[in-house]
């Protein structure tokens, strides 16, 4: 259970440790959004491409989020629907996006 808590929590973390409140100006250069799906599933395979296409379209559209780049961090939850998708995913490059100092199998 401890492991799961940790794994779930790390997905919300991206970057370096912070203490207290930190903030940036109202229009940041980039906004990070995580995306979770099973890359190899019927739905996930199509959704992954659709999300990437949408991000391209949003970023090339000057009428929306002008000056701010939308960044998507894609994570493969494998074929499992539940906890296993959270814990059973071995090391992957995407973990680097989410945390910097963990000692066991990451969430993604």
């Amino acid at each position: 259970m401890r492991k799961i808590w940790f794994l779930v929590l790390v997905m919300f973390y991206h970057g370096f440790p912070s203490k207290g409140i930190s903030s940036v100006s109202t229009r940041p250069r980039t906004v990070n959004v995580g995306a979770l799906m099973s890359f190899n599933s019927t739905v996930g395979r199509v959704a992954k491409v659709a999300i990437e296409a949408a991000v391209d379209d949003v970023n090339s559209d000057a009428t929306i989020l002008n000056g701010t780049e939308l960044k998507i961090l894609m994570l493969d939850t494998k074929l499992s629907t539940g906890f296993l998708g959270i814990v059973d995913c071995r090391f992957s490059q995407t973990r680097l996006f989410f945390f910097h100092s963990i000692h066991f199998c990451p969430f993604f």
């Binding site: 799961i4 808590w5 940790f6 779930v8 929590l9 790390v10 997905m11 919300f12 973390y13 970057g15 370096f16 912070s18 203490k19 207290g20 409140i21 930190s22 903030s23 940036v24 100006s25 109202t26 940041p28 906004v31 990070n32 959004v33 995580g34 995306a35 979770l36 799906m37 099973s38 599933s41 019927t42 739905v43 996930g44 395979r45 199509v46 959704a47 992954k48 491409v49 659709a50 999300i51 990437e52 296409a53 949408a54 379209d57 929306i64 989020l65 701010t68 939308l70 998507i72 961090l73 939850t77 074929l79 629907t81 539940g82 906890f83 998708g85 945390f99 910097h100 100092s101 963990i102």
Partner: protein, 499 residues
Amino acid sequence: MENDTVAIIGPQFSVMAHVISHIANEMQVPLLSFAATDPTLTSLQFPYFVRTTQSDLYQMTAVAEIVDHFQWRDVIAIYIDDDHGRNGVSALGDKLAEKRGKISHKAPLKPGNITREDINSALVKIALMESRVIVLHIYPSFGLDVLNVARSLGMMVNGYVWIATDWLSTVIDSDPSLSTSPAMNDIQGVITLRMYTPDSEMKRKFSSGWNKVSKEKDPVEGPLALNSFGFYAYDTVWVLASALDAFFRSGGTLSFSNDSSLNMLRGGSFELDTMGVFVDGEKLLKKILEVNRSGVTGQMMFGEDGNLVHSSYEVINVIGSGIRRIGFWSETSGLHTGESPNHSISGDGLYGVIWPGQTTQTPRGWVFSSNGKPLRIGVPLRISYREFVSRTEGTEMFGGYCVDVFTAALSLLPYPVPYKFVSFGDGKTNPPNAKLLNMITVGVSVTINFHWLSSFYELILTYCIKIPCNMPVGVRCCCWGHYHYHKPNKDSGFYTAIY
């Protein structure tokens, strides 16, 4: 901290959405799921969960209306026993109850790797049951296996009804090679649903560019066939982008604090002091729920319950090597055949269906279960009026005018009714009618179910027509007659006694 994640698109699966939603609440990070359809995810418990696809609550309403449309009452539900399956089927039960129907049997399959043996044992039980209307609510990866086993067990023949939720349309849309594969034989006559997205310039443009995009983004598998979830995934990003735009315009900032109730978990090996709570998360959530834009799926706007407004589904019949749309269901108009779900005359039903077994005749939806009890008919062994009903001496055979009428009526029914005469009384005196009636009502009320009721009803109608006008009817006349207490509500008592 600019590097933190402000929102999550997904997760894809409802089960995982439940897990992550708890954390999203604490971290104040909105989740926008394009594929988690479990109705309970939009509960007040998970304020940070936003469903950017249609809820199974509406899909199950559509299923219940299809069941009602064909005048079936009892259905059997096969599902994976996890949040997604269980909560979807629970919504189906509620919606059927509103139409005075019910789920007569739930067949849960264990989550994870489902084997053919698991499927086989669940289906063998179902085959012995009365209901022939089966709702299959499962994942795309396992659904075809269930239907394949069903066909091998002879459950894809005349008389069966299979309603597959939108997993089947997703499989069909995503795999163009299916139409020429042997698996197509397993799904003949099945009814399935597909989330309806109206045609629009935006949708056409997206669809026409899809092949190129999917080949480019996924060089290994691509080009991919598009399915409805692809449309919703695409719109999800736009919803989030619009909300972020509004968020920044209204002065929202990307501030993260480590002050959360998760503090109690800090220290030790958890390293939770590296986590940040999105301070303006609630504000972003509000902006997401306020989005109102046209996307490739139509209008993306959230109702008060947190679900997308204007839910509608296509109702599809799998025939030959393809599919045929037999109508639509929409939240506002119910089932209808008009091209535009929200603007047609409501309640005009569905086009004709070709059912399993290649028949156009609507299945009755039930059979007498092979392990059920026969219809038991109490026969008083009277000493008077024996020409109406009497037992042949020395046997368990019964004869007389009443028995003849009864058997003649039975022969008119389009299906067999197993029955058994049960004698009452010692044959030396007239047995008390009240006692017999009492025994029947007690016995019947315990064992009766709706299928029996409907058969009783048909019997009685037939019988009433055939009975001569001058035939004395009723208990006091001591001859063939009947008692029946029939209320519109099928749950109420309906008892028959024959004299």
